[in-house]
């Protein structure tokens, strides 16, 4: 099916505590499936640090124990293959939720991408067939949230995912 790239630009993260609602514009973004039968698979996460001073930052991709409410915005989502027929429903992506932000699960951490955002980069690529999957429209399967647990680093980056 269709592969997509969700990206964010120059976002300064604020440290987010587990199981508390993400504050708009203070995290790179969250990717919400949004359909009862919609499944997506993440196969790459890239974070590039853009700070002008040393800022150790503990970025975490985790499942949301409470999913965001309302439309997600701020952040781009683009299809990788220009010629592909887009599926009817595409996951929502962004760091601004119309009603309330997602809450990071305290247990379901999927990736820990710690870096110094003063020029550091962090990257993860899945082996083929071992992508991270999300599905449905309820917690904890529907949404993944990339956020900082410690540190207020400024980053840009992308998440590559495929809609199944």
């Amino acid at each position: 099916m269709a592969r997509y790239i969700a990206s964010w630009s120059a976002v300064t993260a604020a440290a987010l505590v587990d199981t508390s609602a993400a504050v708009n514009a203070a995290y790179p973004g969250s990717l919400r499936s949004g359909g009862a039968t919609l499944q997506y698979r993440v196969n790459e996460v890239y974070i590039g640090g853009e700070d002008t001073a040393s800022t150790p930052c503990q970025m975490i991709l985790a499942r949301a124990s409470t999913i965001s409410v309302g439309a997600l915005s701020v952040g781009n989502i683009a299809v990788a293959d220009f010629t592909v027929t887009a599926p009817g429903t595409v996951p929502g992506w962004g760091n601004t939720a119309a009603t309330s932000g997602a809450q990071r699960s305290s247990t379901l951490y999927l990736l820990q991408l710690s870096l110094n955002t003063f020029g550091g980069i962090a990257r993860w690529q899945a082996r083929y067939g071992e992508e991270l999957t999300a599905y449905g429209n309820t917690a904890t399967g529907a949404e993944m949230l990339l956020s900082s647990k410690v540190g207020a680093g400024k980053t840009s980056g992308h998440i590559i995912f495929e809609i199944v």
């Binding site: 990257r123 899945a126 082996r127």
Partner: protein, 107 residues
């Protein structure tokens, strides 16, 4: 150097933290970190392979895939093998079935 044998997962993901361009003091040898990863088939957590680990990695004999230490503990406590793929399929099937035959809500 990581030597692969039967106790190690094969065909791996890739994890990289590159702070070589970071203009800050750091402990020696910690500017660039690369490691192989695999994804736990039960909970989907990404496991970064520690090259210094000597304990064997647990391969679930239900799904024939390496799983993370947390899921290994659950498995050894007697929990059945249930992969994330199975959980997703069950959930999606149930969602599709309910869409086709919505349950009756009684007053």
């Amino acid at each position: 150097m990581l030597i692969l044998n039967d106790s190690q997962p094969r065909g791996l993901g890739y994890y990289e933290i590159d702070n070589r361009l970071t203009n800050a003091e750091m402990p020696v040898g910690q500017r660039h970190f690369e490691a192989d990863t695999y994804t736990c088939s039960h909970c989907n957590a990404v496991v970064v392979l520690n090259p210094n680990r000597v304990r064997e990695r647990y391969k679930c004999n239900g799904c024939n895939h390496h799983i993370c230490d947390d899921c290994k503990a659950k498995r050894l406590m007697g929990n059945p093998c249930k992969t994330m793929k199975q959980a997703i399929e069950e959930s999606m099937e149930s969602a599709a079935r309910h869409a086709e035959f919505p349950s009756i809500i009684l007053p």
